[in-house]
């Protein structure tokens, strides 16, 4: 059997820009505009407060990052079964998964956070058993409630996204997996999940950014993230734009990193676009 073609791998149209390919004229112009904007802001606005808050900002960023990554990762791990149950589960898994996603997405995160922290959290001390258990030092803290609420919320939104992604994988490819004797778990792990996740990456990226912007809510239960530090600056100095612009810049860096990471995974598998 002779193949007519001799060389070459698949041509990937959407390769990430690398090296000198990155510095195209319009990009340089954009960067110059951006740089001059930053310079203007730096010169014409008031930044004398900044040094005083730097340590707090640093720890705030760390708290935000920790919150974001822990909740997004755990939340995603929960979202996968939630999405799958809604697509193929038996009714006794499907129904609770649906209800969970609907109720959590349907109510404000702040309310959930408060119900957990002030509602559930204030019930715990009434049980001596809990009060004396090894868990108490954690239950007394605020962050476990913040992590729990944010995780649940992320899981519900992503459960919905994954439901769609699972349903969107072509039936034929799953059939092929089954036809070769793959067990449900193997077929899921090797074909269904990677295919679904790859397809959902752009949406998941957005949802992760949204999660980043939801983390400030934990400030209401005394977890000091970067947003809380910025609020504190605003309250103490009554400056509005300077601290908020700094916050925006910080978020922009984090978002930029997320976008690049997600785009990298997206482009690892070339798709033929039309």
């Amino acid at each position: 059997m002779t193949d007519e073609t001799t060389h070459a791998l698949a041509f990937t149209p959407e390769d990430l820009p690398k090296g000198k390919g990155f510095f195209q004229p319009h990009r340089i112009v954009l960067m110059l505009i951006f740089a001059s904007l930053v310079l203007t802001l730096a010169v014409f606005m008031r930044w004398d407060w900044l040094p005083r808050y730097l340590p707090k900002l640093g720890s705030g960023i760390l708290v935000s990052l920790a919150m974001l990554f822990s909740t997004a990762i755990i939340g995603f791990l929960l979202a996968v079964p939630l999405g799958l149950a809604q697509v193929t589960g038996p009714w006794f898994l499907k129904a609770p998964a649906r209800i969970f996603c609907t109720v959590i997405r349907g109510t404000p995160l702040l309310l959930q956070l408060w119900l957990l922290y002030y509602g559930l959290g204030s019930l715990f001390p009434q049980f001596p058993a809990i009060r004396h258990s090894f868990l108490w030092p954690y239950l007394r803290e605020a962050w476990p409630y913040g992590v729990a609420a944010l995780t649940i919320s992320f899981a519900a939104y992503e459960g919905e996204v994954m439901r769609g992604a699972f349903a969107g994988v072509p039936a034929g490819e799953l059939e092929a997996a089954r036809a070769y004797g793959m067990g449900r778990w193997t077929a899921f792990r090797r074909i269904w999940l990677p295919r679904a996740v790859h397809r959902a990456l752009p949406t998941l990226n957005g949802e992760t950014v949204l999660q980043l912007k939801s983390t400030p809510l934990v400030a209401t239960i005394t977890v000091i993230d970067v947003y809380a530090v910025i609020s504190k600056v605003r309250q103490e100095t009554y400056l509005t734009y300077e601290p908020l612009l700094l916050l925006a810049a910080i978020y922009m860096c984090l978002t930029g990193i997320l976008v690049v990471a997600f785009r990298y995974f997206e482009n690892r598998i070339p798709t033929r676009g039309a």
């Binding site: 002030y118 204030s122 103490e236 100095t237 009554y238």
Partner: protein, 236 residues
């Protein structure tokens, strides 16, 4: 001329608080009416969410802020303040039956809740934290109170009026009592609460200052204050 008076859209009873038909009432509302009448200003009360109240002032959507804003050095770099129009003592409440004193030694090793970015926080950070108190920051006073009731805090430091309001509530009555005022420190606690103004508008500022003086002098101030408080809200 009309003057737009910004107040926080989030209620802060007994100073500002709306009813269900959108009418605002409270001590600061009466105060506003009194100084506007005194200074012959045509005042329009404009509720603005707290997050937007300073930009609203600087963008001239409102002309002054009457929102229990404590005067501090730091804030004076950004906006202007009138003379103080009230100043309440700073106190500490704590769980009933627990021996807590509003002193650095008395709070050592205790969890103390304060509202973030208030003079109380500054005070607690300066005096209590070095002595070993764990100072926790809350976004609102109510959240701190809730955590005190839930047992996560041992004490809460705040403005005596806010604390009193909580202690009057069912929840507050049950859990907590007043542990006393903290020692004064003018450098941290500041002169009190003033009307927030745009920088450079000295004419308006002078009018307001004059009006505050006048209503203090002619008894209007005390008259409406009596309806709300059984002590001297103007402070020492």
């Amino acid at each position: 001329e009309t003057v737009k008076v910004g107040i926080a859209a989030e209620p802060y009873p007994p100073f500002t608080s709306p009813d269900a038909s959108g009418n605002w009432q409270g001590w600061e509302i009466e105060f506003t009416k009194a100084i506007c009448a005194e200074a012959k200003l045509d005042c329009v009360i404009t509720p603005v969410a707290w997050d937007g109240i300073i930009p609203a002032l600087t963008a001239k959507k409102i002309d002054m802020i009457i929102g229990s804003m404590s005067i501090t050095e730091e804030r004076l770099k950004t906006i202007d303040f009138s003379d103080k129009y009230y100043n309440t003592p700073t106190g500490v409440i704590g769980t009933k039956g627990v021996d807590i004193k509003p002193t650095p030694e008395g709070l050592a090793g205790k969890a103390l809740g304060v509202q973030v970015a208030t003079v109380h926080q500054a005070y607690a950070t300066k005096h209590f934290a070095p002595a070993g108190a764990e100072v926790k920051e809350y976004q609102t006073q109510d959240e701190a109170n809730q955590d005190l009731a839930a047992g996560r805090l041992d004490a809460v430091q705040a403005d005596a009026i806010a604390l009193d309001a909580f202690l009057q509530s069912d929840q507050g009555k049950e859990c907590c009592d007043y542990k006393g005022d903290v020692a004064p420190d003018l450098a941290v606690l500041g002169p009190g609460v003033g009307v927030g103004l745009r920088k450079g508008e000295t004419e308006l500022k002078d009018k307001i200052n004059a009006a505050i003086k006048a209503i203090r002098a002619n008894g209007t101030y005390d008259a409406f204050s009596k309806k709300y408080f059984d002590f001297d809200i103007y402070g020492g």
